[in-house]
Symmetry: C2
Amino acid sequence: MKTCTVRFDPGGVEVRVAQGETVLAAAQAAGIYVNSICGGDGLCGKCRVILREGEVSSRPTALLERDEIRQGYILACESRVLGNLHLEVPPESRLAQQPALAQEIALRFGRVVPFRPEGRPYAFDPFTRKLFLPLPPPSLDDAVGDLERVYRGITSHVAVPAMQTGLFNLRRLAGMLRDSGWRLTATLGQRGKTMEVVQLEAGDTSARNFGVALDVGTTTVVANLVDLASGEVASRKGTYNSQIRYGEDVITRIVYAGSEPAAAERLRACVVRDTNDLVSAMVQESGIALGDVTGIVAAGNTTMIHLLLGLEVANIRREPYIPAATAVPVVRAAEVGVAISGRGLFCCLPGAGPYVGSDITADVISSGMNQSAELSLLFDLGTNGEVVLGTADWLVCCSASAGPAFEGGGLKCGTRAADGAIERVAVTPYGTLTYKVIGSGKPGGICGSGLIDLTAELFRVGTLDKAGRFRRDGGVPGLRDGEDGPEFVVVPAERTATGRDITVNEDDLAIFIRSKGAIYTAADTMLSHLGFSFADVQRVYLSGGFGTSVDIGNAVVIGLLPDLPRERFQFIGNGSLAGARMCLISREALAEAEAAAARMTYLELSTDSRFMRDFTSSLFLPHTDIERFPTVLRSLGKSAP
Amino acid sequence: MKTCTVRFDPGGVEVRVAQGETVLAAAQAAGIYVNSICGGDGLCGKCRVILREGEVSSRPTALLERDEIRQGYILACESRVLGNLHLEVPPESRLAQQPALAQEIALRFGRVVPFRPEGRPYAFDPFTRKLFLPLPPPSLDDAVGDLERVYRGITSHVAVPAMQTGLFNLRRLAGMLRDSGWRLTATLGQRGKTMEVVQLEAGDTSARNFGVALDVGTTTVVANLVDLASGEVASRKGTYNSQIRYGEDVITRIVYAGSEPAAAERLRACVVRDTNDLVSAMVQESGIALGDVTGIVAAGNTTMIHLLLGLEVANIRREPYIPAATAVPVVRAAEVGVAISGRGLFCCLPGAGPYVGSDITADVISSGMNQSAELSLLFDLGTNGEVVLGTADWLVCCSASAGPAFEGGGLKCGTRAADGAIERVAVTPYGTLTYKVIGSGKPGGICGSGLIDLTAELFRVGTLDKAGRFRRDGGVPGLRDGEDGPEFVVVPAERTATGRDITVNEDDLAIFIRSKGAIYTAADTMLSHLGFSFADVQRVYLSGGFGTSVDIGNAVVIGLLPDLPRERFQFIGNGSLAGARMCLISREALAEAEAAAARMTYLELSTDSRFMRDFTSSLFLPHTDIERFPTVLRSLGKSAP
């Protein structure tokens, strides 16, 4: 079989692949990230690369404009290598260097008011805890075994119903006790219902105990290094989940995992490497050693946790949607492949169902809704969209299958909330459209919060009608005829990073409206099933990267969020990370997370007839039944004739 | 450095060693067993080998007779290799092929009446249990995770407060469930207070579940393969503990373990190999696979268990005599190095102190004294001598430091209870000495039970006085002057396996009397401390290989056992193995063993002033205070003037 050399710029990375291989596969083999939301099905049009030299065979596509094709643009997934190639990955197809972390966004906007400041409501009692034990040396009158002496020392400090340890520690114990003058530090870790003596160290090392809170997202992996002696965050790092090169969302990853024997292991290796990279970077930054990190608490959607642990994911996608485990037992970090202290523990928070994972459990814990007498609603709007409803007594959850529109997926100029994304849009009283870009550069696309603003503003000023179609007769200028019908120019080419216009057309809006409708209807369906309406909801929590930068007023205008008094809404930032961190520093929180996950009833919407019926009614701005949005109705009455 | 070739016969094994190395070290390097009770200190005179060719440098020794030296006898530990050697290991220095197992001895004598037949008083509920789970396949209405489905299946059969499993099982679970049509077998193992799902197998394998009960003795390692589906013993095997080549008793092993960096590991490797050999032999004999063996329950003295697990033993010997652990946590057999099912569990029963190990806990469980309202006394007379006193409410134990005399150690013609050992001796009414040999061959020496009989009979007929000295004026013929004073010829050279006379002299008897005195005084001291006397003891249990072949009447005559009505004595055979087997087939028994060990108070006799005083009084036949032995007093009154 003939092989060809493919060179990718910038970077000059070369790879040899078989003739006939797709350019996307070549990029994956080279470890080069090329955007690909659909995972290589030729549907999203995101995997644009520029052919500088060489020959490919490309299928015809409507996702590239004639002008672009003339400039050499090809879709990586639809083009096959015929000979040696020289390709350029343009900025819009690359991964931004560092994702904008939800927390950082939150700080920038200054709107995150933690409902329950961490560490206060739950007792400080970390998942892995170090206990310095100055033990009395043995004598003929006190001649218990070394291990019994250590256990006695531990139980004099901590009430432990059951304790275990391994041969590893036991084999070193006698020497360590005598060499250290009977002064050692035991690291205790929670392992299900038992307490494990994870490790033993000579002398007093109790001040050197760190843990990692980990949020394993489909798009990003974000971690906090936490000083478990104080509960303070010592370092924060985030990175893209490098599985992205094999597909942007959960479903494409599952499909890829089943595509060939080595694929699942490849996905596992990606996220394990990402995690190790984050942990080492944080450890270096804090000037500590990997051995000082004794535990990890991770949250993530069910598929991400399965891929990280090397569990079978295929059944998550097949009806009746069964994960290998909803609650994964605590294991050693080394078994997962994550390098911390040799015997350090790895805890994945429990999830509630195939599409409501431990990230949502963490959200719930982070919001405190699991302890509240009030009826609360929680939205986690990431790559997927999950909704939780409940009180201290019961919890119901569902996955809205919102699609990746809020992350910019499926939209021509959609992008993630990273540097260069338009995150806020407004129309000034003088009719001028203004926008705000993440970072200091020119805009490259528009992210979820920007799209909410844009849709709401265009609707408000009359450029958009309630069906999501452009009206020539009103609103702000910028409307023109594009290849796929009328389109609105948000930023003209001369002011963009890509040198191409940033535009939105009616197809983009239709996708976006389906997403917002799915989320609203999911919440509405849950309330109806339980005999409630939105008016009964006392508190609405918004979680996720997206959920910290959204303008609530505009989200209500487009019918994404219910029309409730603004004071009932609460941003909780990256609730998945915050919840993992709470469980890392408090075994009480961890027990609450387990209880909450066990209490959460999963509602499958894909087979729910009420959901399907109501969803259709939600595909309007804000809704077919506008009476549901009285403040929107009033403001429209004021601003439009 | 010059190396020399040393050849050992019979067998023709050759080894190359450095010039100047001892012959004993050469034998150890060659894997050849040469008796060595003192562990190479030149004290016991047991490591006799015959130099056939070559040159050694030997230190002068009083432990070989002139005639023997002329025949080429050398002491292996006291002779250094000067050039190439050809050596012969004579029968008396070799290890008998197969030790006489306590149980076999018991069967031969037909005297073991198990006080509590196994499996009856405790519920049949094995340490590792297989549960066949035909699970309902998932549906949209029953969409719990695979692991949760398995857990639900388990808890519908067994009440489990806490359950755990590892990534190993979890990674295979989804495929196994679907490939097997939702029919699998879970192996559950008790691990401290939690239940572990040890392994998962497709289909119904619940009929194929085996466990091993293991008695790790200083001299022998004995095992039973138990069918855990029925509780029946499928196979029994025993072997010498191959650590013997590095020393005969616990103390010499501890000394050897500390002699050089690799020594402890060498000892560990010996007993691990012995165990693996036994397990494979039993598995082969029973036509099952190693993977069908899911658990091991082991009992042994503290030092043996430490060496097996690779724990530090040095502190067991140093005051205040501290083991690394008295109760060792359950670990994986693979961690110990024993090959059974990959994830099979290894449980060491808990001990009570540095010199009262889990073999004694097993004895107690096997006797049932821990559940009895009666005051009971238990003697375990092996290489060491341990005594337990108590009722269902309390237990006190001690180690008598009896020395190895009952195993033949320290006595010129002493030997273990193996083929060729004189195990019974009697003087007929006509004044003739008769004896019984283990196996079908000629006698090679005299073992503990034989020595008890011999001493009692010679004392009864007046050949021995109460101080253990020979009297020329009475009894049976056979007395003569030896190199070390008067000696009694038990068997003349022409009728022995070694071609040398089997004799006993006053030094041998002094050693033996010290041993019997230590054991009697240990029991007496414990009783006194608690305000009891022997008359209060309702039941006396005799355990250990030695404890099944001893003649109780003769043991009372010499003052080893108290003078109590014969019906109070009970042989329990190899109580260590029987107790381990009970705990293997009943988690209730295992819990009882843990409770009994925790309840057992260890009495250190080496610093007990009452013991030291009373010990001196016991160095007579039967005792200084003969009133303590009324039936002996009466029978002496009848038979002697």
